[in-house]
Symmetry: C2
Subunit: 157 residues, 2 copies
């Protein structure tokens, strides 16, 4: 049914995307620096900084991780003094996770690095192509997300 052209393009896109993801993955992996945080920890810090004091469950939901995994990731952040667990005045069972000054600062530095890196990547593009590139990545993300929702049968949110 679908013309061979689509399949050809799809294969090319697959190869290109695989490459792109691998390059970014390795960039992340090797950035063992990441200002002392792992990638997951750094993502978690982003959420914590963005959503303010947050419970473990909410954090886990936001990150699509199991609460047990989340608990251990947060353990790591606590060991590294990037967050503190405070008791939740409105619910004795839960704790509020909050970024420390140092945690916030580290996250800021990471973000700065990443923005700088992306700026260097984009700098080889002509200004109109830059916007186009960003839009493409967004479109790819949406398309991929769409696919996921269809596959899984769309859960919450």
């Amino acid at each position: 049914m679908s013309p061979p052209a689509l399949e050809r393009d799809a294969r090319a896109l697959l190869d290109a995307m695989t490459e792109l993801l691998r390059v970014y993955q390795f960039r992340d992996r090797d950035r063992l620096g990441y200002h002392g945080l792992t990638i997951t920890q750094s993502y978690a810090m982003e959420v914590i900084v963005r959503l303010g004091p947050i419970t473990l469950n909410d954090l886990a939901r936001e990150m699509n991780l199991d609460k047990s995994t989340m608990s251990r990731v947060v353990d790591g952040l606590e060991r590294k003094r990037a967050i503190v667990r405070r008791e939740n005045p409105s619910d004795g069972r839960s704790t509020l996770i909050e970024a420390t000054h140092s945690g916030r600062e580290r996250r800021r530095l990471i973000e700065e690095d990443l923005v700088a890196e992306n700026a260097r990547v984009l700098s080889s593009f002509a200004p109109p192509a830059r916007v186009q590139a960003v839009e493409l990545v967004r479109a790819l993300t949406n398309a991929a997300r769409q696919r996921r929702l269809e596959d899984v049968g769309g859960d919450e949110t």
Copy 2:
């Protein structure tokens, strides 16, 4: 020096890429199926199928993994009967890793799924935009890879 426009675009790209990586990460993670293989195992199979019988070291080099990690990934593939380790007639120390029929078949199915998925993604683009999209992804990959090489100090290849 650099106009704020670049930084704005860079931040947008960062956000978009972060999203993209997360979506793909989840796609991969949840694909516990992946026809019975994990993501790393599936990448490894791709290389093994593509480069024919290959030694562990060559495979590790190709995948940018430590040989110990590679050894264990290959263990997994062997347990799942996707590859066999044959002795290397030309060097008694090394083994040749070779895809089994079943391994090759599984990899083919995975690839088929992925191509189909990419076709669906692309189908929301007009035909000329498809080719352009692929090219843009390649350009991004190259730009990103470039950055990596500069950072690290460029190793082999």
